[in-house]
Amino acid sequence: MSFLSEALWVLLLGSLLGLELIGKVPPTLHTPLMSGANAISGITMLAALTLIIKAGDNIPLLAMGAVALGFALFNVIGGFLVTDRMLAMFSRKSARRKDTNS
């Protein structure tokens, strides 16, 4: 039971943290934020990784783990890169604005 009770505390506190982290978000950032949070949800790749490592020589399980890992990494890498692409457009612009102001 000790893992369960600890895990439930972690779940509760993590949820509260998530609720608090995002208070006011300017509409500009809604899409990047969604996309960034989406990339983080690909953290299931850790579970897939654990599955592969503990699978021993069970080939079907290894294959399943590898496919799960592939899906998760598709989410993570794609998600972060796409978010970066979106945000790059904002930062490039503010840099230029600084130049014109000075």
Partner: protein, 479 residues
């Protein structure tokens, strides 16, 4: 605890801290890009943590390495390619696709543990009931997230439209039946952990439920659905964390789940809709196509040339961008037009409706790509009082967000949704491909107003013509 475990524990703590800072930073314009990188670094650290821990305790077999590298290479490179290739205009679909894959991953992990309980005996979860419940939740949420996201993507891409029977009340009965089937399967699975027919029933039932719930949802509400599914994929990750006994997964999944829920709420507020009505109300307008619909009778249309002449005489111009602008990829042409207008001393601002496009912030991203200064983008509450003092409003491929019915017609399905009061301006030009209804399928009274003129054509072509006309008129020429 040996050294490897302590090391992993420390790495996990740092990773959680960085992830939290990352999400926090993503909500501010200045820090957003660094925050995104911070979160990416945190993810990398978390992977190193798992590897270090395994190397230090049980070791990683050579065979396992092959599968790890295989999965990483294929998934990672496909993700990188997709991220580079996809055009900015189809961001919503892309997020939906990524999200679905995250859900699929959680689903597969739970399936793996469920099918091979002995081999996977991952659980510090302690086995037994806790593990069974975690597996059920992970399968259920993961499956819904996957099918729901894929349907959302297909609908946004236009690959899929809603079959008529899905609009009828019958869909509720079907969805409730699917939910009951899933529930029965879940209980069966909880009672006998190795019941494989119950497992597959759960997978199929919840998968179909994801389709059944997403399919009838109307286009205007799709952003909310994607955001909600994003929240679900966080929940799925947290559930997978219970399955394999990883607190890092639980905390990260919970953070994403909660943050996604907040974002969903923000979007619902923007449309003055409740989450319940989005999820169960079905497509806007579909039920009352006769009430809100009807033929247009009193349409004024004009050419780009007339539009240019009016623009030349204006002092204040407000641009209302919509999904049509995104589809036509016309943001750069638009920027050239506004540069000419600005050079001619005309004040140009952009009115951004919270849900313009297919996703909140969609228009901001698009206009930022075309180098439109951030200060010129005005939010709805800021710009609405300014419309009476505006000479010309140029509506580019937006429809439902400028429909005055939302304020005047209580029978309209749009009634109550905050809209941009463009009709208050002196002249309104609506650039549109044809007289088809907006995404919600509702007739727009704006088009029949006396001060509204339609300019028919693809947004990019019309703006191109406009640019030529404006240059011929000599606006913005120095000297």
């Amino acid at each position: 605890m040996n050294t490897a475990e302590i090391l992993k524990f420390a790495i996990d703590l740092v990773a959680v801290l960085l992830l939290a800072l990352g999400i926090k930073g993503l909500s501010k314009v200045r820090s957003a890009r660094e925050a995104n990188r911070l979160a990416a670094v945190a993810m990398g650290l978390a992977v190193i943590g798992v590897l270090v821990n395994s190397l230090g305790t049980t070791g990683i077999a050579a065979g396992a390495w092959i599968w790890i590298i295989l999965g990483t290479l294929v998934g990672g490179s496909l993700g990188a390619i997709t991220a580079q290739r996809v055009p900015m205009t189809s961001m919503p679909e892309t997020v939906a696709l990524f999200n679905g894959c995250g859900g699929m991953s959680s689903l597969l992990v739970a399936l793996g543990v469920a099918i091979f309980p002995a081999a996977a005996a991952a659980g510090e979860a302690g086995g037994g009931l806790v593990e069974d419940i975690s597996i059920v939740v992970s399968v259920f949420v993961g499956s819904i997230t996957f099918t729901g996201s894929i349907v959302a993507m297909a609908k946004l891409q236009g690959w899929l439209s809603t079959p008529p029977w899905m609009q009828s009340k019958a869909r509720h009965a079907v969805n409730i039946a699917l939910a009951v089937i899933s529930l029965i399967a879940a209980v069966e699975l909880g009672r006998h952990g190795d019941n494989s027919s119950a497992l597959w029933l759960l997978v199929i039932g919840s998968g179909l439920l994801g389709i059944g719930v997403t399919l009838p949802i109307g286009g205007a509400d799709m952003p909310v659905v994607i955001s909600l599914l994003n929240s679900y994929s966080g929940v799925a990750a947290a559930a997978a964390g219970f399955v394999v006994g990883s607190q890092l997964l639980i905390v990260a999944g919970a953070m994403v789940g909660a943050a996604g829920l907040i974002l969903t709420q923000v979007m619902c507020d923007g449309m003055n809709r409740s989450l319940v009505s989005v999820l169960f109300g079905g497509a806007l307008g579909a039920s009352s196509a006769s009430g809100g619909g009807g033929e247009y009778t009193n349409i004024t249309s004009c050419s780009a040339e007339e539009c240019a002449l009016t623009l030349e005489a204006a002092e204040r111009v407000v641009i209302v961008p919509g999904y049509g602008l995104a589809v036509a990829q016309a943001q750069h042409t638009l920027r050239e037009v506004t540069r000419v207008l600005e050079a001619g001393g005309i004040e140009v601002t952009y009115a951004i409706h919270p849900v313009a496009g297919r996703m909140p912030g969609h228009m901001n991203v698009l206009l930022a790509e075309a180098d439109v200064p951030y200060e010129q983008l005005k939010e709805m509450d800021v710009i609405n009082p300014e419309f009476p003092a505006t000479d010309v409003v140029l509506v580019l491929g937006a429809n439902d967000v400028v429909n005055p019915q939302a304020k005047t017609d209580t029978s309209s399905p749009l009634y109550g949704m905050p809209v941009l009061d463009v009709q208050e301006a002196r002249t309104v030009f609506v650039v549109k491909r044809g007289m088809s209804a907006g995404y919600s399928g509702i007739k727009n009274d704006l088009f029949e107003l006396a001060n509204t003129s339609m300019v028919f054509g693809d947004a990019k072509k019309v703006l191109g013509d406009l640019l030529v006309e404006l240059k011929e008129l000599g606006i913005g020429k120095k000297g």
